[in-house]
Symmetry: C2
């Protein structure tokens, strides 16, 4: 099954994965959240092959995660900015970062400061109804009919 | 750069990605959180090639995300269960699911019920200091020295 076939599975994780699950994509998004906008800067900061970077950026633009904008006319130059759809990937990115902080780095490479309160924020996942922190053992999945079905071949 | 070289970048996202960023891995984890434990059940539910599934499970065991336990002696049969390190991937998985719910599915395939309060929980990401919901535009990253540096080649 090719990666793109994930699009067809009735599963929100599979469909997200079809957009962001390619090699390098999450690091391109990390850079976008760090306000990297230009091809040359993505390339230099990630040390990634130009053709791979071009392909990843094009895919994120096609999916509406990034917007490609002209910022200079002569010669024409474009920059890449997160759309609202792209900004909404922030929790996924931060959750991966926190897991890496805990299990894969001796000291966190990035500390996130929550500007409205001024404190270093270690974002927490809480229940929208009661506000308590989420423990996966407390969550019961109710699975809709047809969920996870594979596309017919 | 091979995927595994991500291990060496001083970046928590890159290091998480080196563990979970392979094709299919996040869906194997989805199944583990749905309490799928046996090879045959993973295989049937995901419709994934056996060799790919075996490789993904072995990698997750090697990384300490899953634990392989004998559940039957004759013939020997093993099952795969999430460790605490694996359970701690739940926020990342749910964040990807929520994004897919919003942008890629007409109706959510899975609803999560928070058993302690009994309500369908739409988990939210909040600041650990002030409790307000996180808006990515409010977060200022403080980047440690050496962060994101690529390994010497």
């Amino acid at each position: 099954m090719r990666h793109s076939a994930l699009d067809d599975v009735y599963c929100s994780v599979a469909r997200s994965w079809a957009v962001v699950g390619e090699r390098w994509t999450m690091l391109v998004l990390r850079e976008a959240f760090l306000r990297t906008r230009r091809f040359e800067d993505f390339q230099r900061r990630l040390g990634i092959a130009r053709n791979v970077l071009a392909e990843r950026l094009a895919r994120l633009v096609e999916e509406g995660v990034l917007e490609r904008r002209l910022y200079q006319d002569r010669p024409p130059r474009h920059e890449y900015r997160l759309t609202q759809k792209g900004l909404d990937l922030y929790p996924a990115l931060v959750a991966l970062m926190q897991w890496g902080d805990r299990y894969a780095c001796t000291a966190p490479p990035v500390t996130l400061v929550h500007e409205p309160c001024g404190a270093p924020a270690d974002p927490r996942f809480v229940c929208s109804a009661c506000g308590e922190e989420i423990d996966p053992r407390d969550m019961r999945p109710e699975v809709a009919e047809g969920a996870f079905e594979l596309p017919a071949r």
